[in-house]
Every structure is written in C-alpha cells, then in structure tokens.
Subunit: 132 residues, 4 copies
C-alpha cells in the first residue's frame, strides 16, 4: 500500500463549501507516481519510451470532503492482467472514507499505438502492492 497525505486548497472548494468532485482525481493521480516509477524510474516521460495509458477511471463519493482537515490517500494494486493493471484508491478524512476509485492502466506502445504485454518483472513489482 502507498500512502500520501494531501491538503485541499481554497479553490478546491465549490459553492457548496465542500471539495469539488473532480479534485480527488488529481490526488489519485499524484498517488500513482510511485507506480509510474515502476515503469519509468527516472520520470523522463518521453513518448518514445513511456508505456502506460489510462483506459478507465471511476470514483464513488461516499462522504463529503472539507478543507479543514488533511486527507490521506491510500493506494493499492487490485488486479494485474496480461496487458493492463488496476489501481485502487481510497481518500480518508478524519476517519471517514470519502472517496474510493479505480484506474485501469494499459501497457501501451505509443510508437505503434497498441497495447503490449506487461513484462514479468514489472508484474512482480506491481504485485508487491496487492490489496490484501
């Protein structure tokens, strides 16, 4: 499991005084950086070599998020397939689970614009973070 702590900024609030529902997507993206590093250790993010593309995301909003308290983002790998894997995230604030969501990421070759098999060594590194 990966953990990061984030704090909302003033503009993340919307007119209802809670965090707008698009904001957790940016926190989950930030939480995936260690997973990107499995595939691109130096974070060079060069399209010639970069090998991940987003296929699907979903978000369940189970409780409201406010600006006052820190938010903990917990991240696991929930599935590893042949050519894609799934990341599962939770956002917690003050002991309340507020958002849970998944991201399905495809192993992809941008030069030929096709999905490609995830190398076995990368699979192993992903599996170290399996949701128990």
């Amino acid at each position: 499991m990966f953990k990061i702590t984030v704090t909302a900024r003033f503009g993340d609030l919307d007119a209802l005084g809670h965090i707008n529902n698009i904001v957790p997507a940016t926190w989950f993206e930030l939480a995936r950086t260690p997973i990107l590093k499995i595939f691109d250790p130096h974070m060079s993010i060069d399209k010639k070599d970069f090998c991940l593309i987003m296929a699907h995301t979903d978000y369940d909003f189970t409780d409201q998020l406010y600006i006052k308290d820190e938010i903990e983002i917990r991240t696991w790998i929930s599935k590893v397939g042949t050519k894609s894997f799934t990341v599962y995230h939770e956002a917690w604030q003050q002991g309340r689970l507020c958002v849970k969501g998944s991201a399905v990421i495809v192993h992809y070759d941008f030069n030929i614009e096709k999905s490609t098999p995830i190398p076995e060594d990368k699979k192993k590194l992903l599996e170290d973070h399996f949701l128990a």
Copy 2:
C-alpha cells in the same frame, strides 16, 4: 440530448502530447449545466436550497484527444430513479469517440444531509433528455 463544443487549452496537454485524462471530467461538468438548471433555474447555488450531490462518476477512455481540433460533448439522461439519476456523456473529436462516462447524481437535502425523492415534475424534465 445536450451538445456543447469545447476546445482544449495548452495546459490540458500532458507530457505525452495528448489531453490529460482528468480534463474531460471538467468538460462533462460544464455539459451538465443545463441539468443543474432543471433544479436551480437561476444558478444561485445556495446550500440551503441546492439539492444535488455527486455520488459516482466513471470514464472510459477509448481514443486519444489532441489539442488541434474541437471536441463535441454529447450528454443524455440514461436513468431516472426515485432519489437519483444518471447522466451519460460522450466526447467526440474528428468523428472519433474518445471518452464516454457517467455521473450518478443524488437528490439531496444539505440541511439534513439525506437523500430525498426527486419531485415528479423534475423527473419529467429529465426524461425529455433520455438516451434513445
């Protein structure tokens, strides 16, 4: 069906030269404004009266989006339940379906923090935009 046309901005691109996957969420939100207006015609968005809260969103990324060409966002109502309804969106660029996604919105009373039934007249207005 509701239609809007949007144009990506320079910063919507990411290091892979395509539109970052979080950006379509902002376009879909913009496309839902006419639906908000069914419930809050003057867009006063006062927490005492406002009656919608987001429960779920999902996004399927079926093709890459680029900065060069306009993007058409097509929006329908796909389901109307007792206390919630579902909005379905598609993002099209140059004849290619690039993103499709749903948003489940709950009819909600922020004063008592509970879901409440959607009034019948609002249901009818939603159903005018049913996905054929």
Copy 3:
C-alpha cells in the same frame, strides 16, 4: 483583437460563490491559442521546434465573476520586443470588466535553453493584433 466566449463550470466557483481567481488564467491561456499558431501553425508542440516560454503573468481582479453569464475574453498584443512580446487580456461579463492581465512570452530555443530573436515575419503577424 481576438475574442472568445467562455462559460464557467460549477467547480470554477469557490466557497464564496464567485469564480476562483486562478480560473481566468486558464481562459487567458485558451485565448492565446491563435498566438501560439503564429509560431506553431499545426500545434504540433514538439519541444525540438517549439519556441515560446512564459516569463511573466499578472492579473488584476477588478470585479467579481459569477457562473450565470457568459464571459468574453478580449486579447491583444501590447508590446513586441526583440526576444519577447506581451499579450494583454481582458475578461468581461455583463458589461463589467472583471479581470485584466498580461503575459510576457519569450522566444526561446529549448535545445540550447536560451532566448532567441523573434523572426521579423512573426513580429509583423503579432503587430496585426496591437492594442489600438
């Protein structure tokens, strides 16, 4: 002068019920696309060839912006120097000037990480949009 019309989305509001002050920066960026096209007509935005880098931006917030009404962004070139030029923007809503701001953009070679002179033909194209 360049003109675009934009509409705020729900999440652009902040807890005070007006548009958050960072949002106009995204509209001004969108309004600069025709200026980018003077230098990169096909919007390929390839670091090997792309020749612009942002040196400075400023924003004066002269009135509040709300979600209800469209916003018109008016854009001019206010200065053309040897190696940089300045873009001037205004955001108008319902006859009220709400934001004015400038962006100083440097003609830049990313390969050598140095500013370079703006070609004469590009200067002419910029000057067609001078603030009267």
Copy 4:
C-alpha cells in the same frame, strides 16, 4: 516565513515536459492557508463573515520546474496597508528559484461589497511574517 513542500502530478506537466505556468498559482494558494486562518481561524469560509478578496496576482517564471523533484514554497508578507496586504511567494526546486510572485489581498465586506480597514490585531499577526 511559511514553508510547504509540494510535488507535481503527472497532469501538471504540459507538452513541453515541464510544469505548466498556471500550476504554481495553485501551490501559492495552498501556501496562503495559514494566512487565511489569521482571518478565519476555523476555515468556515462563510460569505457572511469571510473578509478577504483577491485584487491582484503576478508571477515571474525564472526557471523551469520539472516533475522529478519536490518543490518548496516559501511565503512571506511583503506589505501591510490600511485595507489590503501583499503576500510574496517563491517556488524553489533543487536549489533553483523557479517562480516568484505576489498576491494583493483586500480586506472586504461581502455584505456591502466594499473594502474595510484591516483590524489592528490582524495587522500585527501579518507583520510577524514580514519579509526580512
């Protein structure tokens, strides 16, 4: 001086592989939270009582920011006037000053839509963070 450390997310990059110039505005906003708390200690951000409005921001981009390394945001008060004060921010990465910027914030009554004098006790609390 206030210090926070932030990390860029994948989508903060633009097609040039560096952090888009609008992103530091969000970090500076986050860095101002302790200053908001001087005026709204419980961060209730209720328009009836909230007393700050943004009048001006500016940003000088002195070096490029990348995704790989953490960014330190340093924040001071640079000026305290009768009805407004100025916050000064710097963004540092790997010993390089990459962005510096100011925000002029007006003490404001949203009920009468007018600026009002900053109370003396708040001025003192601001002055504790003066730029040396």
